[in-house]
Symmetry: C2
């Protein structure tokens, strides 16, 4: 029973992702998602209170794969850690690929709706915090010169957001993995003690 319920949940999420990607978040209706997933509306509402809740769950799932990639990195120094994190870019690109239209629509909603805005902005603050801690650690270990932690962390987040957006919009416009690695080299040299 438990397993059956998990499967239903997964079907709903998969059907939603596909529908959001192909037809847009706004245009997707719960009726259509239920039809695609082969579940009743009752089953849908048993798992999710709203279409928005599904988006937030898809976003959470995507961020968890990024975090898992980051946590698998074990290197002796912070510069080596950051460099190896850049190596997870292709996997992040691949996992974000069919989510771009959905992200864009959600940013769009975020610019008009306070609650969605908060959910959209939270991951940035999470990564901002994460990189600030990492840079602080790099300063402690003597790899980096003292810097404004917030600015330096924001720089890494902005770089990642910019690379991701451009890489998704224009996959053949550059060798994105190389750009990511080369950029990180420049930044690491710039942060050097």
């Amino acid at each position: 029973m438990q397993q059956r319920s998990e499967e239903t949940r997964t079907h709903i999420l998969e059907a939603s992702l596909k529908r959001f990607a192909n037809h847009g978040y706004n245009a997707a209706s719960i009726d259509q998602i239920c039809a695609d997933a082969g579940v009743s509306k009752g089953a849908f509402y048993h798992h999710f209170p709203s279409k928005q809740a599904i988006f937030l769950e898809l976003l959470k799932g995507w961020l968890e794969t990024i975090d898992a990639g980051f946590e698998a990195v074990h290197q002796p120094t912070v510069p080596e850690t950051l460099m190896q994190m850049t190596g997870t870019l292709p996997a992040i690109f691949a996992s974000a690929d069919d989510r771009l239209p959905m992200f864009l629509e959600f940013w769009l909603q975020a610019s008009r709706d306070e609650k969605i805005w908060e959910a959209t902005i939270a991951p940035y603050h999470h990564y901002q915090e994460y990189f600030a801690n990492l840079i602080q650690q790099g300063i402690y270990e003597g790899s980096f010169a003292p810097v404004d932690l917030q600015s330096a962390a924001q720089m890494l987040v902005s770089m990642a957001v910019g690379l991701l957006l451009q890489g998704l919009l224009d996959p053949n416009g550059a060798e994105w993995e190389k750009v990511g690695k080369d950029s990180m080299q420049v930044i690491l040299k710039g942060l050097e003690a």
Copy 2:
């Protein structure tokens, strides 16, 4: 007569920008834009073949203000030039402010429509080229170490896109001008000869 026609054109562009920002590009109809601008549909089609043409004109106008800001920068070396360009960020932020939802909707269209995609991607290639030339010049003058020009230029473009997107989504989330300047300092040190 010429002046009257110019005014009509400006009214249409202003009304479109306002409607796109408040109601979305997709939801905006030419009928509504004409009503807002106080012009006839005939007058509209005299100036613009389509709603898409208006978007492209608004995008062009916005990019021209950025370029004008860049061209006003005259500094003896490339690092100083790049640093002063970062000073134009607040003006770029201000001029992009009411355009964010429109940009997002257009990126969204771009992910589904080849022609819009090309128009959306062209400015990136333009700035990519622009910064590659500037970095090349920085290497010639002895400011920068030799680097992969395409990667370094792409890094600057990605950084700018990321900063702009985050700054527009979350204006109070950071001191964006300071983040921009601090980031440029790190990048300049990273590129140093």
